[in-house]
Structure formats: structure tokens, C-alpha cells
């Protein structure tokens, strides 16, 4: 029994064989192994197949708008920093619609974990190209195949100095779990790009494809070396899996904002301070 299992049987809306199933298990195991209590965990998601994840995890859920899981997660964290806050959604949601939030929340560095289910396609809306779709992939909006370059999330994350950047493949659940654990444990903004096959709409990036096109981050790689990490990010033959970049030295946004352990809803408006404020306008 995992405390994050739903208390009752749930009709899961994913297709049989969908990569989201293994990831659900991986996430729940990671949370359990970290010793988390469901009551301290909030999963904020957007909209998409990936974004349904929190529907199936027994924890707090904020299932918001397509593309907006990151600002919502940040708001939650700032209001109560005792919570473990995960933002979780698909590649279309976080890299496409919500791309601007990724860029700028990284600059702030709140202690939240961003899990992106990267299936290189828009699953829920039935097979349009996502930002990470490979060139040439046929889809309803580009019948002759994708004619734009894919988005490189690792490179972009490096460029905006995300202090924890990793990539994992649900085809290797053990590694994926450890990476997710490391990301959640990391104090700061952590991004994990997860390869999660869509078996219905992406017939080219299959479990096998991900197996064939990935390799572990080279052992000699120093994750604190950003330039080296960028070179890894540019690899196209075999996409490196593991922790690509890590910088433990960045200060948290919460700390820089002077946020204490007391959640905001416990804050009281000091009458003395208020009278002082008014006095300033006498």
C-alpha cells in the first residue's frame, strides 16, 4: 500500500499502454520513498493527458489552466512554503502555451519541482505537433510533417539558469524514480523532462525509440559545468538521461522575499503597524 494510492478505484482516462501509467507508479513510489505525507504534497497541473496525473494521486490537487501550472505552483509555494509543491504537465502545456513562465520562474528560483511529461505530441487534443515534436512528424495541422525545429528544453533551461535539470525515461522506471526523488529533494527550481510515450498519437517516438535514442549522462560529466551541460543538451543522436546540470548555490525566491515558515493565511495585520502606516500620511 502506498499512501498516495487513491482510496477508491478510479476510472483512469489514459489509453491502455500510455506512458503515463508507468509514470504514475514511479511518482507515487518516489513520493513514498521520500517519506512524504500526502497532506504536505500539492500537485499543480495544467491541462492535457499529462496534466491529469494529480487526479490519480491521493494528495492535494490544483488542476488549473493549460500552460499555467508553474505560476500557480509558485503562488502556492509562496503562500505556504511548508508544502512540497510539484508542477506537472505535458510538453505542449509547459514548453508551448506556458513557455514564458518557465523562462521567468527559473529566474526567481522558488523551491518547486517541474515534471514535464514529454511525449513529443499533443495527446489530449489528438495528435497535433507539440514543441518537442520531431521535424517531419505527420500531424493534422502539418499534413506533410512538422516544418519547425523542435524545442530543446534542456538547452533553454540552461540558458535561464534552472539550477536542477534532469531528463529521465519512463522506460527505465528505477532511474526515473531516483531522478524525480532528487528533483523533489532539491532546494530550488527543478526541471525534469520525462520521456513518456503516447502510444496512440505518436507512432514514431515509442518506448523502443526512446530506448534506442537515449543513453546515460556520461560518467565523466560534471553537472556543475554549465557549458559542458549545454554541449550535452545539443546531442541529438543519443539523448542523455540523468542529472544534466545542478547548482546548489542559488538562493531561494522564498528566502529573498523574506518569507517565513508561517503560512500566509496565519498572517495578521498588525494594528500598530497599520497606525504607523496611516501616520505617514498625516
Amino acid at each position: 500500500m502506498n499512501p498516495f494510492d487513491m482510496p477508491q478505484e478510479t476510472d483512469i482516462a489514459w489509453c491502455p499502454g500510455c506512458g503515463n501509467f508507468p509514470l504514475l507508479l514511479i511518482l507515487k513510489n518516489a513520493l513514498r520513498e521520500l517519506g512524504k505525507d500526502p497532506k504536505e504534497v500539492v500537485i499543480a497541473s495544467g491541462i492535457g493527458q499529462a496534466a491529469k496525473m494529480p487526479q490519480y494521486v491521493d494528495a492535494h490537487m490544483f488542476n488549473g489552466l493549460h500552460g499555467r501550472s508553474i505560476p500557480a505552483a509558485m503562488g502556492i509555494k509562496l503562500a505556504n512554503r511548508n508544502l512540497t509543491v510539484i508542477a506537472e504537465s505535458g510538453d505542449g502545456d509547459i514548453y508551448g502555451e506556458g513557455g514564458n513562465h518557465l523562462l521567468h520562474t527559473a529566474r526567481r528560483n522558488p523551491d518547486i519541482t517541474v515534471l514535464v511529461h514529454n511525449n513529443m505530441v499533443y495527446g489530449l487534443t489528438k495528435g497535433q505537433a507539440s514543441p518537442t515534436s520531431e521535424e517531419g512528424m505527420k500531424n493534422p495541422i502539418q499534413p506533410d510533417g512538422v516544418i519547425v525545429e523542435p524545442f530543446n528544453p534542456i538547452a533553454v533551461a540552461l540558458a535561464v539558469d534552472v539550477p536542477f535539470i534532469a531528463r529521465a525515461n519512463v522506460g527505465d522506471p528505477a532511474q526515473a524514480k531516483e531522478i524525480i526523488k532528487a528533483a523533489i529533494s532539491f532546494k530550488g527550481f527543478a526541471l525534469v523532462d520525462l520521456f513518456v510515450p503516447c502510444v496512440v498519437f505518436n507512432k514514431q517516438n515509442t518506448y523502443q525509440w526512446y530506448k534506442d535514442h537515449t543513453c546515460p549522462v556520461p560518467e565523466r560529466h560534471d553537472p556543475s559545468n554549465k557549458a559542458a551541460a549545454f554541449e550535452l543538451a545539443l546531442e541529438t543522436e543519443k539523448l542523455p538521461l540523468g542529472i544534466i546540470y545542478r547548482n546548489d548555490a542559488r538562493e531561494l525566491y522564498e528566502d529573498r522575499l523574506g518569507i517565513t515558515d508561517a503560512p500566509l493565511h496565519e498572517r495578521e495585520v498588525s494594528e500598530v503597524a497599520f497606525q504607523e502606516l496611516l501616520a505617514g500620511y498625516r
Binding site: 492535494h60 490544483f62 502556492i76 509562496l78 505556504n80 503560512p263
Partner: protein, 570 residues
Amino acid sequence: MSQYSKDVSIAVGGSAGQGIQTVEAALVKILKDAGYGVFACKEYMSRVRGGSNSVEVRVSSTSAPRRAYVRRIDFLFAMDAASLEHLRWRIGEGTIVFGERAQVGDPGPVRFVDTPILRFANEAGGNPIYSNTVALGTILGLLGTPFSGAEDYLRSVFARKGEDIVGKNVEAARKGYEFGKHAAFVEDISIPLTPSEEKKDDIILDGTTALGIGAVAGGCDFISSYPMSPATGVLAFLAKEAKRFGIVVDQAEDEISAINAGIGASYAGARALVTTSGGGFDLMQEGVSLSGMIETPIVIHIGQRPGPATGLPTRTEQGDLNLALHAGHGEFARAIFAPGTLSEAVGTMQQAFETADRYQIPVFVLSDQYFLDSVTAVDLDELPRIPVKRHIARTTEDYLRYALTKDGLSPRGIPGHGDGLVCVDSDEHDESGHITESFAMRRSMMEKRTSRLTALRKDAIMPHAFDNLEGAETAVISWGSTCGTLVETLSRLGSAKLGGLHFSQVYPINPEVKKLLVGKEVIVIESNHSGQFADLLGRELGVKVSRRILKSTGEPFSVEELIEELRSEA
């Protein structure tokens, strides 16, 4: 009767960067402390340097304070030729223009007092930047208030800049003051206003500050916003006060982020605010819809300015009522406030948080540039205070965020506060907050989200009736920033036929309002092009509006303009 018997209207015109707003601030403070009623407002171009801007300061007695923009200018201080041109259309018979011929050039056919502003500035401080202080001194001299007020003020304001600067400013002011006194004598100016002896416990606010103070008093814990005129001030105010009150202030990368962060914070228990103007608000609308769906409170301040699109970024309009009313796709409950006085601003901002939390809905506060930049003194004894009730429930293990109840309101739990889990979902959801495709559940949840409108309606703030509305044949209606102008207009028209009604809550409208209007002609005053509130009165109350007095040039209504419009009805 002297033209100054009720009030004196002073305008100072100059270019951006010349600091005419410091003259305004000084005048307001010194004159208030001297026992006068004061009002100030400004108009300025969308540029950081150059152009032509102006401030208006109205001085009155405290017993009959003025709180509105008038076209009339008694003393016009022109800091350069362009601003004299800019304000020329407001020069009337009674206007005396003050300026230095060397700066202003030929002033044309006006009553002109050549005022050595720059010369005095150079003499006193060796620097043109003392010009403002000279102008300030001249005005005080004209009014004949004791110089000590100016001196005290300048000492306290410039204290941290050192004795030298203080001294130069006092000297500059004194030169102006003496000149002003002399000019008053020469021009035969005598101001019959008597300052009040009584020391009132009051403070000087502008609309921005009043809303900011209201937000602090209302328990605002969190604000995330993106700068946009004229709404940025509220963000800057809270930023300044963040440390003192432990408020979290986040500058967002865009308005979408701002409202989603706000709703996230609110979900986790914070009272959250966003501030923006129409264009930025457009981008927040999906967030408004989310707030409606997940029943998570959020307060949205829209500082209106003339649209469409970028429009006139530093000007004023009340053009976004319909926008707020219908913002966000789908149907759900909401409330909209629009304060008309600064004390209402302090109050409605608190009420906005209370209403948002109590009814678990998005709540709007509409203001506009004219209102945000208007200054008056506010009596501290009358400062509205509403206790901060959080309306948050500690959850139990079997907690259901959307438990169906009679009034549609479920106890609001937040994560990390109790034994339950708090699940909210932008999809249609069941009582536990999880996605559903049940049509029966959909029906219940639609009912749940909309039925609270009944209670909201009953709770809606009644409009403020004035000028003997009850006995009047015609009700003249204002909402938001036009309040002060209408109040002065009706009092000056002094017609028993006309009564006033000011709405500080514009939606929903209390059904009791209908009784106030029964059998009366209804005229609505609005700073917009189509009469959006007039339409709303029709929709909400079935009230037929017989006349709409509208303006959408980017300028506020002046009292004179409204008097002209309403004279035929009086």
C-alpha cells in the same frame, strides 16, 4: 461675491520632469495643515520628459470641501510656453496667469503677472530646479497663508538632504512668497476663505494610496502583477509596505502569470490581489474564469484608461465595466466595486476581500486614472474598517472541497490546514474536486456556482443618495470616479428637481435600489462612450434610463461641463 468665496482653483502647468507634482504635493500638505479643504488632480502625457502636463489644486474651507475637477482656473502658473498653450482653453475671465516672460514668451491676451520664477530660483539656489519652490512660495503668498507652513514643510521634506539644500529651498520659497503677497496686493486679490481652527485627525491620500491602504487593512497577503498605467501604483504601494506587513509582492513576467500565481496563493490560503489596466486584464480573463470554476477568491483591481488597445495610457475613462462584467468564458458569480471617494476606496477594497472570501468568487475593484491621481484629506475617524475574517475551514479527513450545500457555498479548506486533502479542478468536477463527465453533477455544480448570486445581490452595498433624492423628480446617477463631480454639480445647481445617487458597488445591484428610483426620470453620468452602467441598470433592475451623459475623450468631466449638461433638467 468674490470669485474666490467658495474655493480657489490653482493650476500649474509644465513639462514632464519639471516636477510640477512636487508643487501639488507641497500645496496640499501645507494648505491642509493650515486648516483649508484641499483637492488636487492631475493630467499628464505618456512621456517621461517634455510634453505638457498640469496639476490642479483647489483650496476651499474644510466645512464645504471641493472634491472634483473644475475647468475654471483662478491662478494659472505656466512653467513654459507650451504649457500655457496647453491650458489656454481653460483660461477664463477670472484667470490670472503667472509666469516668467522669458520662459513663456508673449502670453497673449490674458491677465498676466510676470513672475521671476527662474530668476528667483537662480538667486536663491543657483539652479533652475528651485523654480518649483519659487512657484509654491508665490502661490502661498497669493493665498496669504502664513509662511511658517511652507518653511516647516520644506524643512521636513529636505531634512535628509542637508542644511544647505533646506536653506536654499526656504529662500526660494520666501522670494516667491513675498512676490505673491505683493502681487495679491497689486492685482487686488483677496481670498475670503477662512481656515478652520479645529485640528482634524486626517491624512492626505490619493486614490492609489487609498486603495493600497484598503488592501493592507483588508488583509491582502499576496500580490503578483505586471506594471501597467495607471494601476502600477497599487503594486508599488504594497511593495513599499511589504516588509512592514509581511506581504508577499511578486513582479510577474506577464499578466497571465500574475493572476495564476494569485489564484495559486489564494488556493493555499492567502488573500491575493492583482492590479492591472484593461489591456493587461484582457490577458487575465482565463484566470478569472478559473477562479469562478474552482471557487477560489481573487481580487482584481482594474485601473481604467481609455482604450481600445494602448489608447491613451495616461488618461482616464470608465470603459471597462462591461469587460469586468463578462470577463472570462462561461457563467459564474462575481462582484464589482467602484469607489467614488477616497474613503470609499479604503472601504471597498476591504469589502472586496471580504466578499471574495465569503463567496469564493472573483471580485473586481474598478478605478481610473482620474480617481487614482486625485488627492484629498480623509478623516481618520471616518476611515472604514472591516474585520479580516478568513472564511477558511480546518479540513477533516473526509473533506470535500465542493460539498453540495443549500446556499452553494462549501466550507473552504486549504492545503496543509487540517486532515483532509484539498482538490480543485478547472474541469467540471464532483464534490471531491475530481474530474467528472456526469451531466447531473454538471447541473448541480452550475447551480452551486451561480446560485450565490442571490445572496450577493441581497448583500450588495446600497448606493449613496444625496441632494435630497427622495423628493427629486430626476435621479442623476454616478458610479466610481464621477461621484465628486456630480456631488458638487448638484449642490451648485441647487435644484429640488434633481437628486443624486452614487454607486460604489456596481454589480450585482441590490434589488432595493429599484424603490429609490420608482417614478423618477433617470440620468446616468459615465466616462465612457456607450453608457455601460445605464445598460446594466436596465438589465439588472429593468430601470429605463432616460438620458446618458457620456464622455470618452480621455479627460474627466469637469463640474462646469456637468452643470451645463444638467441645467436644462434643473
